[in-house]
């Protein structure tokens, strides 16, 4: 399996996808959470709007983004119609960029959820600490940067684990969006495993890749769970 070029593509894609997906989701989610925490009037409605994609299936998400990113009718054409005739946006069919379309759709689906986690974390921070800091003369950005965001560390941790977990499991989205294509350019281990086990009948290779996925997950999750359980015992 390690000699297969396709496996190389798959795990490089997973790394590219995970890094972009996680960093952007965290930034957007945190940013939105902080903005929403400023006593916004229509907070409930906005939250609902940000979060509803999480209720949808990755297949539905993939289907609609496939349509939006479609070079013939979608975003490319909108921009061209605005007068930028030479604008091209062909990531969906461009083997170099196809994995990033998965990032776009993934962020659309998950950043609202990340926002909800951070918002819950922000609401959980003791107001007295914030009052104490503002009496100490800290400005609002300083309070956020020095006091609140460090206080969200456990939330960051959870968010990272959950996003990583979504990233590694992301299978449906890729299938629906571009079927791991063009070619196998947006393959990730999850689709790799599926293709080899069920489309090609090379179950041995499929199992090998599944085992690798399991080992990576365990390596990440077990220490996390261990620390969670320990802290629960101390609490």
């Amino acid at each position: 399996m390690f000699s297969l070029d396709r496996w190389d593509v798959a795990y490089t894609n997973l790394i590219k996808f995970s890094v972009c997906f996680i960093i952007l989701c965290v930034l957007i989610g945190l940013f939105l959470a902080i903005l929403l925490d400023q006593k916004i009037r229509v907070e409930g409605a906005l939250r609902a709007m940000y979060l509803y994609p999480m209720a949808l299936s990755f297949i539905v998400t993939g289907t609609v983004w496939k349509w939006i990113l479609n070079p013939e009718f979608g975003v490319e054409r909108i921009v061209q119609n605005l007068g930028f005739e030479s604008f091209t946006f062909d990531w969906l069919v461009n083997p170099e960029m196809s994995i990033y379309t998965v990032v776009i759709a993934g962020i659309w689906q998950s950043s609202g959820f990340v926002m909800a986690l951070f918002l819950a974390g922000l609401r959980g921070i003791d107001n007295q600490i914030i009052h104490a800091a503002s009496i100490d003369g800290a400005s609002l950005p300083t309070i956020y940067w020095r006091i609140i965001i460090p206080g969200l560390r456990p939330v960051f941790f959870s968010v990272l684990i959950i996003l990583l977990h979504i990233a590694i499991k992301s299978f449906d989205l890729i299938i629906a969006l571009n079927n791991a294509g063009p070619g196998y350019s947006s393959d990730v281990p999850a689709t790799f495993m599926y293709t080899y086990s069920f489309s090609r009948g090379q179950i041995a290779i499929g199992s090998a890749s599944a085992t690798i996925m399991l080992m990576v997950i365990i390596a990440i999750v077990v220490p996390y769970l261990y620390s969670e359980l320990r802290s629960e015992k101390h609490a």
Partner: protein, 291 residues
């Protein structure tokens, strides 16, 4: 003082603008889905993707739901209604069974602790994180041995087993907040394991039941991978059908039918989200954020 006020005002405008922009980004695909599903193919080819349809054209919804009638094989011909029914037949028992068993697990894990119950809990947590792909092949063997391959019952079984880790976790996290003294009081009052579960524990579990049911419903309804692996053409669930509809290679691509299909597949979970969004969020965040 005045300047401060202006800055503040400017800041508020900035904040609201950003929030509105992101809301637009968030709603954009839904908007596209809805308007496209009501367009004719001619409108789609002719006009921009953003423009609303000239008239409400329901044809694509009919085709997506009950088929075009032009052929007899596959979802593109028969429509999604059969698969919608398949999914309902699977979702209802799967959600019910996994939730009840999860409640029982949570009860045992918190109130009748035994040697190794913490280890079991750790393994359950790990179970929540195991990628679907890892259990695909072993589960296929189990289903084969049980004679359930390619059937709705088999698929239901898979969802119950996989969902159990989550439901147990929900109930465990809820029951851990129920004081053990309540159980002790009931024991002194003469109630045993089952009676305490039925008469004391279940009646106070309504909130976590809602969370668990919504979570399981969403997960199972939205599942694609298990559906595509463990079902045959008769027992396919809706997400598999949608994917087949969209990725069908025969004939002209009908984007409006794709979008109507996507909406049909997405509506049940969207409705659940609109009705019970609060619980939905609680399910998602359960265990992720302390307290």
């Amino acid at each position: 003082m005045r300047k401060y006020f202006d800055n503040r005002r400017l800041g508020r405008i900035f904040i609201y603008t950003i929030l509105a922009l992101f809301a637009a980004y968030s709603l954009f695909p839904l908007y596209i889905m809805v308007i496209t599903s009501f367009k004719t193919m001619a409108e789609i080819r002719g006009g921009g993707i953003l423009l609303p349809p000239g008239t409400l054209n329901l044809e694509s919804w009919t085709i997506a739901w009950s088929g075009s009638g032009e052929c007899t094989q596959g979802v593109a011909c028969t429509g999604m209604k059969g698969y919608f029914a398949n999914t309902l037949l699977m979702v209802i028992p799967a959600v019910g069974i996994s939730t009840l068993l999860g409640a029982l697990n949570g009860y045992v894990l918190t109130k009748w602790r035994f040697r190794g119950s913490n280890l079991l809990f750790g393994m359950l947590l790990l179970g929540c994180f195991i990628p679907f792909q890892v259990i695909l092949l072993p589960m296929a063997q189990v289903l084969g041995q049980l004679g359930l391959s390619g059937s709705l019952v088999g698929l239901t079984f898979v969802h119950v087993v996989y969902g159990l880790a989550f439901t147990s976790l929900f109930f465990r996290n809820y029951y851990i907040t129920v004081p053990s003294e309540l159980i002790q009081a009931a024991r002194i009052d003469g109630a045993g394991f089952w009676r305490i579960f039925l008469r004391i524990i279940l009646p106070i579990s309504a909130p976590v039941f809602v969370v668990s049911v919504i979570w399981q419903f969403t997960q199972i309804w939205n599942d694609f991978l298990f559906g595509v692996v463990y079902s045959d053409s008769q027992s396919q669930p809706i997400m598999v059908a949608l994917n087949n509809l969209v990725n069908t290679s025969t004939g002209v691509k009908r984007y409006n039918v794709d979008m109507a299909g996507a909406l049909i597949a997405g509506l049940p979970t969207l409705i659940v989200y609109v009705i019970a969004g609060k619980f939905f969020v609680r399910g998602l965040t359960s265990g992720a954020v302390k307290g």
